[in-house]
C-alpha cells in the first residue's frame, strides 16, 4: 500500500492538473512494468475513479476505534470530527502512533483483509481493525481509512484517470474511456487481470468482448455564458449548429445488441430494470444500435408523432420513478416514461461517433421513423421521440425561443455543431466549435436570509459553509411576520468569502444543535435556482432545484429580503397535464 499512499500524498500536494497527471502516469507506468503490482494497481484505479466498495466496516466500528483508541471522551472526538469534516482524516489524526509492521500490498489489504471483514462477527472485526491500525505506518493511516469509507477526495477526475491510463497503455482516450465504463461501479473483487485488461493493446476481439453490453462514454455539454451579441463572432451563423431543447429529465443511453437491450444512466449505472416501460421500444429497434437521449415522464395523446412533445411532464414526476427498483403496473400507468433520442452512436454494429452530427442525426431520424412505422402496423405508439430541432435565422431569434423554455418547463437550449463528432467527456475551451454548448436560462433568484449554518465536508471541511435560507412570511408592513426556511445551499462563495462568513456565523450564533448553528439573521444572499415546484414536504410549500448563492448582498438589510409571495410568484403557471 506504500505506492498508493505515496501517490495520494503526491496528488494531494499538487495543485496543478499537469502535476497530478504526471503523478498518475508515473505510478501507472511503474505498475505496468511490474506484473506483480497489477492486482494492487487494479484497486488503485478503482479508488481513483471514484469506486466505493460496500463499506467493509460500519462507521459505528470506526468511530468506536477512534474513541477507544484515542482514550478520549466521545464528545471530544465529535468536536474533532466536526472541525476536520472527514471521518478518515479525523481517525488518522486522533489515534496514537503504533509500531509499523511489514508492508502489505493494496491487493492483499483489499482481498484478504478488508473484503472478508463483513463475514466476521462484530468483536472480531473490531479486534482486527484495531491490530491493523497499530501496525500501520503513520503515513498510510489516512489512505487505509479511506479504503473503508471510500471517500478519497483527492481532486482527481475520472477523465484524468482515463487520460493517464490511455497514455500508459498507448491506446486512444475514447477506447480507454470505454474500458473504464462500469469499472468503478463494480462491487466485486478485482485482480491482476483487471489492470491487465485496462492497459492491454487493442486486440481484434476486444470490441466483441468488451462492448457486449457496455455503453459509450457520454459526451458532456459545457455552459455557454457569454452574451448573445458574441455568438455570431465566436460560433458563426446559427445555420452551422443544431439547436435542441435542454430537457429536464435524466440523461441516458439506450443500447441494443443482438436481442438484448440495456439502459445506462449518465452515472454509468445500469438502470434498465427500473424502466420496463421501454421494453416495446427496445423491441422495435433494429439490433446493434446505441442511442443517446433523455429519459422523461410523458403522457402523450395516442397518435403522437415521433417529434411531438405533447404530454411531457416536469422533472418532479420523473423524480417519483428515480431510485425505484421495483415498478408496479400502477406506477407505469400513472408515470409512464419515454426516451427522447438526440444522438446515434452506433448503427448497424458500427461505431459512428466520428461521423458529423447532422449525418448521425439523419440516421437517427430514419431509424426512429422505421420503428414508428413498424409499431403503427401493430396499432401501437412507442415511448420514443426524436428531440426536435429548433431552427432560427439569427442568434437573437434563437435567444427568443430559449426564453420560452421556462414556461415550457425546460432548462434552455443545447447547441451542437453540425459538423462535430461525438466526443468523450467534457471538452474545455471558450470558443471551440466542436463542443456541445448548453445555453441555459438565467436562474431564477430571490434575496434570502441566512438562518442556519452547518460545517461542510471535503474542501469545505471545518468551515460553516452549508447554509439554510429563508424568506419572509409577509411583507414589511405586516403586523407580524417570520422567516420561513425554504432552501439549503453551499456553493457559490469564494474561499475568502467562505472564511469571512465562517467568522460571522461564529459571532452571531444563537443556538447550537449538534452540527447546526442557528444564527441571528444578519446576512442576505441572492439565491439562484433552476426550477421551483409545489411541495407538501417543505414548510414553505415549495421546493427549489439546484439552489446556489449567486451574490452576497452585503448592501441589503435583512428586512428587505424577499417574501414567500415573491418566491411563489416564480412557480410555473399550472400546466395542462
Amino acid at each position: 500500500m506504500r505506492a498508493f499512499a505515496e501517490l495520494y500524498q503526491r496528488l494531494d500536494s499538487a495543485t496543478s492538473t499537469r502535476a497530478k497527471q504526471a503523478a498518475l502516469i508515473d505510478t501507472f507506468a511503474a505498475a505496468r512494468d511490474d506484473p506483480s503490482q497489477w492486482a494492487s494497481a487494479a484497486w488503485m484505479v478503482y479508488f481513483l475513479a471514484g469506486g466505493k466498495p460496500r463499506q467493509t466496516a460500519p462507521t459505528r466500528l470506526l468511530w468506536r476505534l477512534g474513541v477507544e483508541g484515542s482514550g478520549l471522551p466521545e464528545w471530544l472526538c465529535e468536536e474533532c470530527y466536526s472541525s476536520v469534516g472527514d471521518l478518515a482524516e479525523t481517525l488518522a489524526l486522533l489515534l496514537p502512533e503504533g509500531v509499523a509492521g511489514e508492508e502489505i500490498s493494496l491487493d492483499v489489504w483489499m482481498r484478504e483483509r478488508l473484503l472478508p471483514l463483513p463475514s466476521l462477527d462484530e468483536e472480531e472485526r473490531y479486534e482486527r481493525l484495531r491490530r491493523w491500525v497499530e501496525e500501520l505506518p503513520v503515513n498510510q493511516r489516512l489512505i487505509f481509512f479511506k479504503l473503508i469509507t471510500g471517500e478519497l477526495r483527492v481532486g482527481v477526475s475520472r477523465l484524468q484517470v482515463v487520460k493517464a491510463l490511455a497514455e500508459v497503455a498507448g491506446v486512444e482516450e475514447s477506447r480507454m474511456a470505454q474500458r473504464m465504463i462500469g469499472y468503478a461501479q463494480a462491487r466485486r473483487s478485482l485482480g491482476a487481470g483487471d489492470f491487465e485488461a485496462l492497459i492491454a493493446e487493442v486486440a481484434h476481439a476486444e470490441a466483441l468482448a468488451l462492448d457486449a453490453g457496455r455503453p459509450y462514454p457520454f459526451y458532456l455539454a459545457q455552459s455557454w455564458q457569454r452574451p448573445v451579441a458574441d455568438m455570431h463572432a465566436t460560433l458563426g451563423p446559427p445555420g452551422d449548429w443544431i439547436a435542441e431543447w435542454k430537457f429536464d429529465g435524466i440523461r441516458a443511453q439506450l443500447l441494443k445488441r443482438r436481442e438484448n437491450w440495456r439502459l445506462w444512466s449518465r452515472g454509468e449505472e445500469l438502470i434498465s430494470d427500473a424502466y420496463p416501460d421501454l421494453e416495446p421500444l427496445a423491441r422495435a429497434l433494429p439490433a446493434d444500435v446505441a442511442i443517446d437521449g433523455e429519459l422523461v415522464v410523458m403522457t402523450p395523446p395516442p397518435d403522437a408523432s415521433p417529434d411531438s412533445l405533447d404530454g411531457l411532464q416536469p422533472f418532479a414526476s420523473l423524480q417519483q420513478r428515480l431510485g425505484r427498483k421495483v415498478v408496479s403496473e400502477k406506477t407505469m400507468r400513472e408515470l409512464p416514461v419515454a426516451f427522447i433520442a438526440y444522438d446515434l452512436l452506433e448503427h448497424e454494429d458500427r461505431d459512428i461517433r466520428a461521423e458529423p452530427q447532422h449525418v448521425r442525426r439523419a440516421k437517427l431520424e430514419s431509424l426512429t421513423d422505421q420503428a414508428f412505422e413498424a409499431a403503427k402496423a401493430h396499432g401501437r405508439g412507442l415511448p420514443l421521440r426524436v428531440s426536435p430541432m429548433i431552427v432560427a435565422e439569427t442568434w437573437k431569434a434563437l435567444a427568443a425561443v430559449r426564453d420560452e423554455a421556462r414556461a415550457l418547463g425546460r432548462e434552455g437550449l443545447i447547441l451542437k455543431a453540425r459538423e462535430g463528432a461525438y466526443g468523450v467527456g467534457r471538452r474545455k475551451g471558450d470558443d471551440r466549435t466542436d463542443v456541445w454548448w448548453k445555453w441555459k436560462l438565467d436562474p431564477m433568484s430571490v434575496d434570502a436570509v441566512l438562518i442556519y449554518a452547518q460545517r461542510g465536508s471535503g474542501r469545505r471541511s471545518g468551515v460553516y459553509s452549508d447554509y439554510t435560507f429563508a424568506v419572509w412570511s409577509a411583507d414589511e408592513d405586516a403586523a407580524e411576520r417570520e422567516l420561513v426556511p425554504f432552501a439549503k445551499a453551499y456553493s457559490g462563495l469564494s474561499d475568502a468569502e467562505m472564511r469571512e462568513m465562517d467568522a460571522i456565523i461564529r459571532k452571531t450564533t444563537v443556538e447550537t444543535f449538534g452540527p447546526v448553528r442557528s444564527v441571528k439573521p444578519t446576512q442576505v444572499f441572492e439565491l439562484g435556482f433552476e426550477g421551483i415546484a409545489l411541495s407538501k414536504r417543505h414548510r414553505s410549500g415549495v421546493a427549489v432545484r439546484f439552489p446556489r448563492m449567486l451574490r452576497w448582498r452585503r448592501d441589503k438589510p435583512v428586512a428587505e429580503a424577499d417574501t414567500l409571495e415573491a418566491l411563489r410568484a416564480l412557480l410555473p403557471a399550472s400546466r395542462d397535464r
Binding site: P73, C80, D495, A503
Partner: protein, 355 residues
Amino acid sequence: MKAPAAFLGLLSSGSMDLIVATDRGLYSAAGDFHIDPWRPVARAVITHGHSDHARFGSAVYVCHRDTAPILRKRLGEVAIETAAYGEILTRDGVELSLHPAGHVLGSAQVRVAHRGEVWVASGDYKLENDGVSAAFEPQRCHAFITESTFGLPIYRWRPQAEIMASIDAWWRENAAAGRASVLYAYALGKAQRVLAHVDAAIGPIVCHGAIEGFNAIARAAGVALPPTRMAGEIGTKAEFGRALILAQPSAAASPWLKRFGDYSDALASGWMQVRGNRRRRSLDRGFVLSDHADWPGLLAAIEATGAERIFATHGSVGPLTRYLREQGLDAQALATAYGEEDEAAEGGPPPESSA
C-alpha cells in the same frame, strides 16, 4: 486608575481573583495594571509583540527587554519599562514578574503574586524549544490563564527538526527544478524560527520587507540567523529559481510575488494539520509548524503549573475547559479579543465567540 466598573461577569465570583477580564483586557486590581489590553489603559503589561496582544494607546508599557524594540517598531516612541525574565517588580505589595513563554522572541508569561496567592497569565506559548525564543518555563501557581488556540486532540506537532527537514527537502526539490520556493510564515516569530533552522546552503534566502524588520531586531538580540536579502537585491531569475522566499501570509497572491516567476508555495502553520485548511488556500504544501502549544502541550503545561483553577482564552475554549472539568479541574472560559491576528487567524477557524 480605578478598576473599571463594568466587569464582563464571565469569570468566577470570588473577590480574591488576582486577574479578571474587563472590557479593556485582563486586569489585576491589586497591582492596578492590565495584561495585553485591547483598549488604552494606564499601565499595560505586554506578553509579546504580536499586534493582537500589543495595541496602541496605553500610557506605559511593561514588557521583556527583547519585546521593547518590537513594540517601538509597531507603536512608535511609547513609554516602555522593561524587565528581564524572573525579575520581580513590586508595587503596593504585589509582585509582578515575566517568565519565558517560548512563543516568539521576548514572549513572556505574566506572574502575579499577592498575599500568598499566585496567578499566571500565559499569553501565547509553546513547549518545544525553538532555538529563537527563550524556552517555556512552567510556573507553579494557584490559577493559570491559558491560551487554547490548538485546543483539540487532533493537534499534535511533530518535532521541529522533522518539519525543518521536510521544508529543506521541498526547497531542495524546487531548487533542482529551477523553481522558487515561496514560504508564507508569520513575520514575527515563525519567519525567524524557519530562518534559524533551514539549510542555508541550498540557495539564497529572500525575505519580504515586513519580515526583514523583525530579522534585524532578532539579530540585534543575539539570535543567529543566516544572511537574508531583499527581493530587489537579487539580480537574475535563475537566482530566484534556487531561492527560499519568506513572506507573511497576507502577501499571498499579491503583485510582489510576480517577480519570482514560476514558484511553489507553502504555508508554515499549525492549521495545516487539517487538509481542508490547506486545500482551501490552494497551496502546494502545508508545513505543520506552530508557535502555539498543541493539545498534549496545553495539557502538560497546565499540569506543570499545579493550578487548581484554569481559565482558557482564545481558541478552542469550550472543548478544552470541558475536558479539564471532566478531569476534575476548575476550568472556565475567559473572554478576550486575542487571536485576531497571528497564527490564530492565518487559515484556521477564528476563535469561538464564547463558549
